[in-house]
Amino acid sequence: MNKYGFAYMMLLPAILALVIVQLIPNIQGLYISFLKLNQFTFKKFLKAPFVGLQNYYDVLINPDSIIRAGLFESIRNSVIFTVVMLLATIVFGLVLALILNQEFKGRSLARTLLLLPWVVPTYIVGLLAGFMWGYEGIINRILVDFLHILPEPIYWKSGSLALFTIIVTTLWRFFPMTMLMYLAALQGIPKDFYEAADIDGASAFQKFRYITLPTLKPVTAMMVLFGLIQHVYSFNIASMMFGNGAGYPGEWGDLVMTNLNRNSFALMQYGTGGAASVILMFFVILFVGVWLKVFKDSITIE
């Protein structure tokens, strides 16, 4: 056995697990997208009729296809959602990290409390948020009865405000991640850099711009990548907020994954659902490619 044999042996269980749980189902999914697999052919599973690119035609071009019901609205929603989430989590996380990096009384308590949203499972966050954003929910109660900001309650979960409620809820659940990553990176910046800058007479803004930001670029790159993948595939919160699959969040509350889940699983259109998922995967790979080009320099350590 050569000197790497032991290392490969240690890796083997993980690789086996990934192949069985990820790789094989992915390839099956890819194959299914070329089959006419619906409720009636389901028993045949992988032996269902082969229809080539028919499913892709249905998703992209056929105006009568079920899989397209609300698909483009959900894509629009997901694009808005992902862009806003990336900007919000990064900016919000960075601001909080900068604050938590300072010394102040109760800092440990603040850090612990701000990490708590991360601990709550997204399923539960969605379920509770569904009640909180309701007409008689606590958010309306606070805004109308306590703070008197609104004259009367708003139907947050209907119409175009639905997307806003999903964004705010998801932001609450996901900001601790970026905050923590930025905090860790900030604490890795040697104090001498700042002291040297002070000696040179740099202002706070210049210190931020020329020392802090460049050091944080690798972290930002990572946060953009993780955020992109996480938020494009966001499902639990949107689904649970609007009735756990039984509900329809409306034109503005449907994300790509809730839409695909309804149109492929609930309606038993597995072939076209597979094709739509493959197309989605293709776009995500495209975005990651763009990300690689933009952040190529940031992911190496100087």
């Binding site: 619906n38 409720q39 009636f40 389901f42 028993k43 599973f45 009568d64 296809s65 079920i66 019901a69 569904g130 309701g134 007409y135 008689e136 139907y155 979960k157 209907s158 119409g159 175009s160 609007f242 009735g243 756990n244 039984a246 509900g247 329809y248 409306g250 309804r262 609930a266 309606l267 038993m268 259109q269």
Partner: protein, 432 residues
């Protein structure tokens, strides 16, 4: 040595073969203590036949996935509970045993027609399930509110015009100093949405699908009339808009807490009414003041929504004979069928079981018995599963239009949603 081992193994295998079978049964949480409640009833069966019964409880949320997985993988229970609207989909997947040959002649006459309709698919001779318990939906009303308004329930529910007039009278009335919502229904976020609309669509002479399952009727003029009448309660301010974003359990709790005068839901409320009348009701609830009425009669007749669950046998079972006998025991033996209906608060679809004191000596349940005469089932086609998803979504969207959240109510927009449902349902049919 080998010889002795061989003989011992042979004897052991005989022992295993002659041991009584254990039947695996999957049910959903139908009662307070689902597993033990059913096992008490199957204990009789075990005493008679020596066959043991092992009950597993699935929650409704994950049940559909687990059942379809069992159907396709061949690894599952012997006996399965299925919501009535799931039966045709499972039957189309060729997963259920045809019980026809094991049933004595005249079995179909033993059940309520609307419940038995769910046992076979349109156009098929196979009997794939037997009805176990029925979710029959009468209307419930506040006796004290009707008294104060001078309303007679028999009159109120005799026609759509009467019902509308009654709700107008109740509006603005103060009960114990508080206003009460004349009528309440859930609007979306719930599988029940089509179930609530059904009596009104049928009452107008419309339907979701034609009787042969080949044509989609949800956007027909009569169906639109039915939806319009139902929606008019919201438009005319007789039903609070805020209920539309709630699901049926939330609206039901509002009714139980006394905020609504007229409501419709399953038969289980009658058990809680009994408890409340006996002084053992839940705190904050007013069920002792609630009465039961028939659904309102529309221009084309009076129809009661029929749902519920049936029992079937998976084709992959290794104990077919015993499983079929267990299904027959639970559904056609009067004692077992009525005992389970009683413990779950549902209505027994077995005609003989409707003559027990549990039904005949209870005012509310006698009204439900009357309501079963007008029972109607959805068209039993294999595509009904996906159809319900489409209907839940589109009828929920109808509520958005009616509530006028983004734009003021416009009949055209409402019909647009129904037409979109029609288009999607037609596509599903074309795949058959």
């Amino acid at each position: 040595m080998k010889k002795i081992l061989g003989i011992v193994l042979m004897l052991m295998s005989f022992a295993v073969y002659s041991a009584p079978a254990t039947l695996k049964v999957w049910i959903m949480p139908n009662s307070a203590a689902p597993k033990t409640d059913l096992e008490k009833i199957t204990a009789d069966y075990t005493k008679k036949t020596g066959v043991k019964v092992e009950v597993t409880v699935l929650d409704w949320g994950s049940a559909w996935t687990k059942i379809t997985t069992a159907a396709t993988s061949g690894i599952g229970p012997d006996v399965i509970q299925l919501g009535t609207t799931w039966v045709p989909t499972l039957a189309a997947m060729d997963a259920l045993v045809d019980l026809n040959s094991s049933l004595p002649a005249g079995t179909d006459k033993k059940f309520l027609p609307a419940a038995y309709a769910y046992s076979k698919m349109v156009g098929s001779k196979e009997i794939v399930t037997l009805p176990w318990f029925s979710d029959v939906r009468p209307f419930y009303y506040r006796k004290d509110v009707f008294k104060q308004a001078g309303l007679d329930p028999k009159q109120v529910f005799a026609s759509w015009a009467n019902l509308k007039a009654a709700t107008k009278k109740i509006k603005g009335m103060k009960i114990n100093g508080k206003e009460i919502a004349p009528i309440g229904f859930p609007g979306k976020n719930d599988w029940n949405v089509p179930h609530f609309m059904a009596p009104f669509i049928w009452g107008a002479g419309g339907d979701f699908l034609s009787k042969d399952g080949k044509n989609v009727l949800i956007a027909s003029d009569k169906s639109v009339k039915g939806v319009e009448y139902y929606a008019s309660f919201v438009i005319e301010g007789l039903m609070p808009k805020k209920y539309l974003e709630k699901n049926s359990s939330e609206v039901e709790s509002k009714f139980r807490a006394g905020e609504i005068a007229i409501f419709s839901t399953g038969p289980w409320i009658t058990k809680d009414i009994d408890k409340a009348v006996a002084g053992k009701g839940n705190k904050g609830e007013v069920l002792d003041k609630v009465g039961v009425a028939l659904p309102p009669a529309g221009p084309s007749g009076r129809y009661t929504f029929f749902g519920g669950s049936s029992l079937g046998v998976f084709k992959s079972t290794k104990h077919k004979k015993e499983a079929v006998e267990l299904v027959k025991f639970l559904t056609t033996e009067t004692k077992a069928a009525s005992a389970y209906a009683e413990v779950t608060g549902n209505y027994p679809p077995l005609l003989a079981a409707a003559n027990t004191p549990y039904i005949t000596k209870n005012e509310g349940r006698m009204v439900i018995k009357e309501a079963t005469k007008f029972g109607r089932a959805y068209t039993v086609v294999p595509t009904w599963g996906p159809m319900e998803t489409i209907l839940s979504k589109r009828l929920g969207a109808v509520w958005d239009v009616v509530a006028g959240i983004s734009k003021p109510y416009n009949k055209e927009n409402m019909v647009k949603e129904l037409k979109a449902a029609e288009k999607e349902m037609k596509t599903i049919i074309s795949q058959m």
